[in-house]
Amino acid sequence: MSLGVQPAERSAKRRRARVAMLTVAFIAATALAPAAAEAHGISGLASLPVPAWLFAWAAAIVLVISFVLLSTLWSTPRLQHPRERRLFRWPSALGIPAGGTGLALFALVVYAGYEGVPYYTDNFDPTFIYVIFWVAIPVSSILLGDWFRAFSPWRAFARAIRWLGARAQLEWRPPLSYPPWLGRWPVVAGLLAFGWLELVYHDHDNPSLLASLALAYFALMLVGMALFGIEEWSERGDAFGGYFGLFSRLSPVNVRGGALWLRRPLSGVTSLSDQAGTVALVLVIIGITTFDGASNGVVWNTLQPHVQSFFSGLGLSETPSDELADSLGLLLAITVVVGFYRVGVLGMRSVSRRFTAPQLARSYAHTLVPIGFAYVLAHYFSLLVWQGQAIGYLASNPLGNGSDYFGTAGWHINYSVIGATGIWYVEVLALVTGHVGGLALAHDRALATYRSPREAVRSQYWMLVVMVGFTSLGLWLLSAVNS
């Protein structure tokens, strides 16, 4: 009899959780996707049945309801000690074709950059680097885990060199151990540099420049791996590996030790270590995307000429002053994001004196990872869906010289795959889902860190402000871009 009671209780709990989730989903659906919207034509935000700012209010309501449901129905920490179940193993020899594929694609990028036509629409490199590499890999990492690690060209090359050295009886020991103070700062620096290249530098889509930078990055990675060890540097020093790996922690699957493991969604990110630079990393990711949105909006486009003319007044020519103004804008966007998080952390600090502000900032940094992903997905979704199709014909004709290797060179981008209104709904849904995920992570961490329910609840009021603020900011930026 006692055995019969426990599953019943468990299923009742599950039912309640399911009801809670369905309620959130229903409210989100009714608030964010009114039926009337489908009857309208698709022509940007003008075709929405309600003003776009109302979506920010609806998103705030969804977050408040999620906060209440989480507080009442989620009473014990569930994500702090992730448990994984192995799904299947694969032969370690598969690492060879994976690494070989990564190296071959890298070689193609370099070759197409130097030998292809210098137009970004016809050359393989800009689309591959800015759409496939920068956007599609993080998005797919959410579904498939950290698969890039196996395909990383620099890691594959270093491992091949090590294997050849071992066969020739030459053993290389890394002369340095990775300093703890360096933490994730190389990843932060690398992402900032890439963000600057993409959003600020005027010649960012020049294929030969991209090829040169790719080679320089490759060399830098090899030096890092030679000094600190292949796996050590790949994990902490590789900007792109670190970036993709961070998002893959949200995935329900984990690629580890030659096997695929299943875990609870979001649970992987709770084990994100609080080494130096972790908070900066997530804030920089959000900040870069924020500036990407702001740079296409009315506010920055009206302010930017004034800032540019200030630098022109100092004697700089047009291009450097333009780049300086945008660099300032990028820093400003990151500062705004840091300010949002800082307000939340100081608010939590006001709840209990047991933790210092830096401790809280580090402890809750992982809650920003789903927000970072939501920002990336929302801001680049249209780019991925539309410009991503271009890789179909660019793969057949990577140099832009008229070749047709796979018979797909005649393909075109089909812009009717999804309309502007559809994209807006996807963006809103991505932002809201990401922020609800962040709220759930913060709630789980609060249950594990605070002794009394009152402190835990109060701390989460502050995280609610952070989440509502980021959601509103994201929607404002997106609406500015779309209108």
């Binding site: 009899m1 006692s2 009671v5 426990q6 209780e9 003003p51 700012w53 920010a56 209010w57 705030a60 209440v68 507080s71 009442t72 129905l73 009473s75 009315v298 506010v299 009206t302 302010l303 705004v336 300010g339 800082r342 307000v343 100081l346 608010g347 600090r349 006001s350 329910p453 009152r454 609840v457 109060r458 009021y461 502050w462 609610l464 402000v465 509502v468 603020g469 959601t471 509103s472 900011l473 929607l475 404002w476 609406s479």
Partner: protein
């Protein structure tokens, strides 16, 4: 001290937002988007947590319900074990001169 910092942060963000948007003439639009977050921030900055009491009451009620149901479950398990002795307990009960207290209580009913 923290409250003062918070107010400074709120004021800075609000001023920066207003200054930026005023320069652009987009004040209304920006406010329309950011108002829910700003409202919540202002309310919390005054150290009031709307709905906190109701939320804590709900949490406490749920905790008590869970506790009661767990206690009931343990009670049921104990009484079942006591009613149906097994293994060593069965041998002990049969050899004992008087029955264990639980069985005695049952027999009294």
């Amino acid at each position: 001290m923290i409250r003062c910092r918070l107010l400074i942060a709120v004021a800075t963000i609000a001023l920066a937002g207003i200054a930026t948007c005023y320069a652009q003439g987009a004040l209304i639009e920006a406010l329309a988007y950011l108002l829910p977050a700003l409202l919540l921030l202002v309310v919390l900055a005054t150290r009031s947590y709307p709905g906190e009491r109701a939320l804590l009451a709900l949490i406490e009620r749920k905790r008590r319900l869970r506790h009661d149901s767990a206690a009931g479950l343990i009670g049921r398990q104990l009484s079942l074990r006591a009613l149906v002795p097994r293994g060593g307990r069965l041998i002990a009960a049969s050899l004992a001169e008087r029955p264990p207290p639980s069985l005695a209580a049952v027999s009294l009913i």
